[in-house]
Every structure is written in C-alpha cells, then in structure tokens.
C-alpha cells in the first residue's frame, strides 16, 4: 500500500458477473428421462400407500406381546410401516420438486423494512390527533386515575393465585421423635445392632412409614407418605468405632459404631446412598456432593454446603435401634428461612 490515502469505499475488486447461465437437467432435455423420474416418484407414492395398508394389517394381526429381534414386534411393525411410508411420500414430493417442477431461478427485489417517510409522518399525525382528541394529555386526572385503577387490577390477578398452595409452614421438623424405631426401607423390619456388620449400609425409614391402624390400613399413604419419605429417609451405617471422630456433643449419638444420617442430600434433595466402605464417604449420585460419615457428615467435595444431618441413636428395651430425638439439623435443600428455622431448632434443644 502506498502512503497516499486510499478511498475506503474502494470499488469492488471483482465485478458482479451476474446470474449464472441456467443449467438444464436431464429431465428438461430428455423426455424419456422425465418419464423415468415420473415412474420412480409414482412408485414411491404407491409403496407408501401399501405400507399404510400394511400398518392397518399389523394393527390387527400382530400380537401385542410378540417380539421381533428383541423389539416389540408391534412397535417395530407400526413404526417401520408408518415411518417408511411417510419418508417415501416426503422423498417423492421433494424429488418431484427437484427433478420435474420448473427450476428457473427467480429474482425478486427487496423492499426496505421501514415504511415510507410520508407514512411515518401520517401515522405520527394520527397518533397525535388521537392523543389530542382523547384529551389524554390535557386531562391528567382521568388519565392518572385510569392508569392507577389498571395498576390495581394487577392485585386481584395476583391475589387470585394465593390458593395455589399453603404458606410455607415450618420445614424444620420431620416425623422422627424420641423412641421411634428405625426400620429397613424394603422390608419394614426393625433393625438390631447385631444385624449390622462393620462397613454395612442399610437404607431405612421411620417405623411410622410401615405402621398400620386397627383395620390394617397404612397410617400414611399417597402424597403424605411421599412427603414423609422425602424428609425422613435415613441411612444407617456401621463403622469401626475408632474410625469415627464425633464432634462435641455427638459422642453418644451412635450405638457400637452404628450411626444414622439423613438420606436426603442437603444440596437439592436427592436420596444419597453411594457408600464407600473403606473411606466411609457417601457420594450423592445426582451432583456428586460427598460427605464424610466418619466426620459428622462433613462435606468433603461437591456443591453441597451443609453437612448431612445426623440422627441421634439409642436402643429400646427390645434391643432395636431407635431415634433419641428428631434431627437437630434441618433436612433437605436450603431455603431462605433456613437460618432462622435452624436457630429455633437450636433453642429448643
């Protein structure tokens, strides 16, 4: 480049050669080719029709339990006939468009997206006339009171939603209380310390989950049961007592190295049960928060912040594991009032 100033809008280095010459397709110049293509496309449509008919046959002929190469025979037959037919129709139409329909490129001029200046002026004038004639600007009292009432209309709209759900009641308590037995999650049987070996993990529930009333009906069922389970589920682990470093006040929360923790992750509430016997770490399968159960459920990795709450254990007169109280810490994912609720919980104990 020379030192002299070059105009920025340098003329284009290459001139536009204009639209390329039209290229004829074999079908355009050779009628037999066109006929051939026509036959091909027609066969696609015919086969598609047959496949749809086949679909109906399969609907009544193929048994719902039959299998084909490991697939459900029905699903396979329906899908292959329907999908095959649809694909053939689609490919046929596109072939028709590409091979036989007129293929002359057309040129259309664009128009600016904006309206013309006259139109804009006219519209502005109309808007102004509208504002003027309505007195919207001149009569602020009507205007403001209208705007005010419209704004207040939002209130009923919001208030109407009030009954979507109850106000958040205290989330700090679970069904656990002093004396409630720990039961096996699957069988519902209570757990004796002698049932557990060192290194073992048992998924547990509070006994109330399996309790029945006088008629043999479960005390908890449906949603209520799910709500209880989503807070009160526990894991019971047995470690060598020397592997446990209980923090102050927790020294007697275990029974012979058996400790009980909430199963619900303090991150977003997944049930945790990936247990490493040797390291006594518990890993959440959802987001890999890892808790050290030998160290009071402390978080050692991952996005969780609060340690896994621990349930103080004892043994009842029949020798079964029981809770000595509710969880002293709040279960499940954090929420804005958690700090306050935790304080209340601390004051209670």
């Amino acid at each position: 480049m020379s030192d002299e100033l070059q105009p920025v809008s340098d003329t284009e280095p290459i001139k536009d050669p204009g639209l390329a010459e039209h290229q004829f397709r074999p079908q355009d110049v050779d009628e037999s080719q066109a006929k051939r293509t026509e036959r091909q496309i027609a066969w696609m449509f015919r086969i598609a029709g047959l496949l749809f008919f086949g679909f109906c046959v399969a609907y009544f002929a193929v048994d719902i339990d039959a299998t084909f190469l490991g697939w459900s025979a029905q699903n396979f037959a329906f899908g292959m006939t329907l999908g095959g037919g649809l694909l053939l129709i689609g490919v046929g139409i596109i072939q028709w468009a590409k091979k036989l329909m007129g293929d002359h490129e057309m040129v259309e001029m664009r128009h600016p997206s904006a309206s013309s200046e006259e139109d804009r002026v006219a519209v502005m004038k109309d808007i102004n006339a509208g504002i003027e004639e309505s007195g919207f600007g001149r009569r602020p009292m009507i205007r403001n009171s209208l705007l005010g009432s419209m704004a207040l209309l939002g209130l009923p709209a919001v208030v109407l939603l009030r009954d979507l759900g109850p106000l958040p009641h205290s989330q700090r308590e679970t069904v656990w209380k002093k004396g409630m037995r720990l039961v096996n999650d699957v069988t519902g049987t209570p757990i004796k310390p002698s049932d557990m070996q060192v290194g073992q993990l048992v998924n547990g529930q509070p006994a109330i989950v399996y309790e029945t009333d006088a008629d043999g009906e479960a005390v908890l069922h449906g949603t209520e049961l799910l709500q209880v389970k989503s807070k009160a589920s526990i894991i019971v682990v047995r470690m060598r007592p020397e592997d446990i470093t209980a923090s102050k006040g927790r020294e007697n929360w275990g029974v012979d190295g058996i400790l009980c923790f909430s199963k619900i992750c303090t991150h977003v509430g997944c049930p945790i049960s990936l247990w490493e016997q040797q390291t006594h770490h518990l890993l959440c399968p959802c987001h890999q928060s890892t808790f050290d159960l030998g160290d009071n459920g402390k978080v050692i990795f991952g996005p969780a912040h609060r340690p896994l709450p621990q349930l103080p254990l004892g043994v009842d007169e029949e020798g079964y594991l029981i809770a000595m109280s509710d969880f002293p810490e709040i279960i499940a994912p954090s929420y804005p009032e958690l700090a306050r609720d935790q304080k209340k919980l601390d004051n209670k104990s």
């Binding site: 280095p13 001139k15 536009d16 050669p17 204009g18 639209l19 609907y59 719902i64 697939w71 029905q74 699903n75 396979f76 329906f78 899908g79 292959m80 329907l82 999908g83 095959g84 037919g85 649809l86 694909l87 053939l88 129709i89 689609g90 139409i93 596109i94 007129g102 040129v107 259309e108 001029m109 664009r110 997206s113 904006a114 759900g165 109850p166 106000l167 958040p168 989330q171 449906g222 949603t223 799910l226 709500q227 989503s230 199963k263 991150h267 977003v268 509430g269 997944c270 049930p271 990936l274 399968p285 890999q288 991952g302 912040h305 499940a332 994912p333 929420y335 804005p336 700090a339 306050r340």
Partner: protein, 568 residues
Amino acid sequence: MSTTEQYTPIQDTGVGKKAAGPVGWLDDRLGLAGVAKKNLRKVFPEHWSFMLGEIALWSFVVLLLTGVFLTFWFQPSMTEVEYHGSYLPFNGLEMSQAYKSTLDISFDIRGGLLIRQIHHWAAALFIAAMIAHMLRVFFTGAYRKPREINWLIGVGLFSLGLVEGFAGYSLPDDLLSGTGLRFVDGLIRSIPLVGSYLEFFIFGGEFPGDEIIPRLYMAHILLIPAILLGLIGAHMLLLVYHKHTQWPGPGRTEQNVVGYPMLPVYAAKAGGFFFVVFGFTALMGALLQINPVWVYGPYNPSEVTAGSQPDWYMGFSEGLVRLMPGWESTFFNYTWSWNVFIPGVGGLTGLFVILGAWPFIEQWITGDKRDHHLLQRPRNAPVRTALGVAGMTAYGVAWAAGGNDIIATKFHMDIYTLTNIFRVGFFVFPIIAFMVTKRICIGLQRADANRILHGYETGVIERSPDGGFSERHAPLPASQQYTLTAHDRVPVLEAPAETDENGVAAPHSRKEKVRAKLQALYYRDTLDKPTTEDVQHAEEHLGEIDGHPVELGDEFQGVSETGVPRVH
C-alpha cells in the same frame, strides 16, 4: 358478484376453470387475492443450512400431532393407585395414576409406545434443530438489522422449548422424572427471599405434593404450546416480511433475493420435508428406545438410580450445578444458597440474556446501522465467530460436566479430578477456543485472498529446467472470485472526538472511548479483501512462472480434487 368490467372473469382465463368457483367464493368473502398475489410466487433462496429451522418447525408439528394422541389416555393425576396392568413385574405396586397411564400407553394401547417414542424423539429433535438453526443464524450474521426482533423471538422459542421439554418429560412421574422434579424443587427453594413461598405455591405444599403433575400438564399441553405457536407464527410472518437472507454470489445483492418461487417448488420441498421429518422420527420411534419408564419404576423420594441424567438439552444446566462449589451464606437472617441459585437459575437466565443482547451489543460496537440481507461467512467476522465458538465451548464443558459421573465410570477416572478439570476448563477452554478460532478464521481469509490473487492449484506439476517442481495455478472463474469478495470491507476506525464542534469536551466521550476500544478489538487482525489494484497486479503476474509453462489450452477444465468444480 361484482366483477369489475375491465378484467377478464377468472373462469374465462383458462388458468383454473375448476378452481375458479371455490376461489371466487372464498375471495368474495375474504378478499385474499391481494395478499395471495404477492406471496404465492414469493421467492425463497436455497441453501442446505436454511433447512435447519424447518426441521424445528416440522418436529413441532409432529409434537402437536403425537401429543394430541397421547392426551387421549394420559391421566395427569398424582393419586396413588394399585397397578394391575400387563407389565407383570409391577403387579400390585402402588404408583401414581400418571405413571400407570404412561405404562398403559406403552403396553396396552396399540401404537401407544410408538407414538410416545415419536413424541419424545421429536422433542429432542425440536430442540436440537432450534439450536443448530440458531448457531447458523449467529455464525452467518443473519440476526443483523432488520432481523433483531426475529432473533429475540427465536431466543424466546428456544427458552420456552427447554421449559416445555422439561415439563413433558416430568409428566410420567417415574423415578427419573421425579428426581428431576426434586432438583427443580431445590432450585426453586434456592431463590433468595421468596424461595419457600414459590415452592409451596408451585407444588401446592411440601414436595412432592399432589398438584405438580396436573399443573405441569396444563403448562405442557396448553399454556406453553399456545405461546410457542404464537411465536412461531410471528417468526414466520417476519421471515416472509423481511424475505429470507441469502448467500452472496453472482447476481445476488443486498437489494434482491434469488431463488425458487413458493408455489410450486418451495411449497413442495418444504411440504415434502414435513413428511421426511415425520417419517424419520417414526423410524426412530420404531427402532430406538427412548425413556423406558418401566425400567425406572414409579417415583419414590427415597430412591435414585446412579447415573441419573436429565434429557440432553438440560445437560448444560445440570453440569453447571455440578461444577459449582458449595457456597452458601447467611446474612440478614436469611440463607442464600449460591451453590444452587447461581448455576441453576443464573445459568439458564444468563444464557438467554446473553443470546438476546448480542445483536444489540454487536451493533453498538460496530456502529453498523445498515440493513443486511447478505449472509456473512463465519471467517469474515473472525471475532464474532471466535466468540460464538468460545460460547459453544463453555456450553460444551458444562454439558460434559453434567455427565461427569458417566465419564468417570466409563473412562475409569477420578470423579473429583475430572470435576476440577471442568471447573477450570469452564473458564480456560473458551479462551483457548477463542484464540484458536480467530486464527483459523484469519487463516481462511488469507487462503481466500490467495485464491483470488494467485488462482487455484490445478494439480498440474511442472518441472523447471534446473529440476525444481512446482504446481501450476490457474485463475478462479469470475463467479467464484466475485463470491469470495462479495462482503464488506473492514472499516477504517477513527478515534472518537474528544470535543464537540465548539471545542467543549464531548459529553459521551468516556462511553465513546470504550466503544472505540471494543471496535478496535472487534476488527483487530481481520484481513481485508484485496483491492482492485491488488487484483490487477496479480492478474498481470499470474502467468509469470519460471521455465516455459505449457499452455493449458481451452480444453483444460481444472481438477475436482482441489475442490474447484471442473466446469468454469
């Protein structure tokens, strides 16, 4: 009928003797001929990449059709019932009606499983096609003026599509989808100050409650599809109004659009393509199992499967949540769960805000207020392309992190190391990707300039008298030379004026300085296309090669291996 005298009545034109009756009847009542006249033969340019949005459109139609079928049997209820259907392993098991009816659709309704699988595959395809379409629009600069509003509508479609997909796969109330809802519950709770209120209002009480499935159902089949439909309509209307963008090339300018008419070619191609998309998803439904809810079992808040994963399009959000350190703080007597709120709520909204804001940020930086109808090749906007790839890299890292447990177990890696790599990688890899992409773009620009100025490699090897070998170059055909140069020049940047015309310090000079800096960064290293002089100079020298070149002759048609078509 009040036919104006000076026109030939439609039935006499011979164009459509049969159509004249109904067309006349309709037009008497609707008067649509005026609109139809302009649009029936509307021209659409052709390129494979313009088909991506069409895939999204048609998979949405497939979703509507299959979704209607599913509503005939699906029962959005969380009432617990005992199962006694054809899937024997669950005989006598307690489950929600939603889950039971999903099992019934899969095992007892003929074709139910197929339609369910088509619906799920089409949903995956819908989102995938939207993302691919969005990337196409981004990397070619198709969102520039006057199409910014359509870009915003697209961002709205994308975000609603994600929510719609999530709501949909939550409906069967199986163990996997319940785990997803449990996560959403945690996410809602993490919202500062109002989290618990929102949780109780949305779930109708404590998690899981018995309201969430019916409410999601309403959102999934009515509210969100209605908004999607409206936005799609607006998206298409604007597309028609602006006319489609086109690639530069001979005869293609900012003022015209070159392509095929809507009727019949484009209508046939697009209509045929609907059947292709439907057929393709039907084959997928036949051959590829998706979301086998009977494997997972009914939802139980005390159970989860290792390796639980959301549907793929939520993977990046899941990954962000996994990467986040466990930050939580307490002040003003409130708990603030940054560990969930920042990646969960912030990650999703952040993505949409960045996407929505980009066209306006770019416009502010470049100061380019012109209308653009010609697409840019990604290489000719190196910084934008590099930013896009950096964004894709960050998304990709987050997505991979969403499967860190799977990666760790499949490749026998330490999950904590892997997570830490992703934590660092989320910030470092995009920077590397930016630098690499920008250099690649500039390299490609140089290659283009080279092809314009020095021609293409013919594949003809010549040996000079002293034994050296060289490859003969031949000039590109004019149409290709033109295509390679049909883009804007890099503007000459000016420092912002410090003072206004009266010598007083300009009020916005600080903002203007920032803008000027960003502008310089935006255009830095971008190679300008050759000037007329360059081309003339090169033309004069193209024939000059050492030795005695053999004439290639008129018959020589080039070599296709070089990527240059033989015919020119």
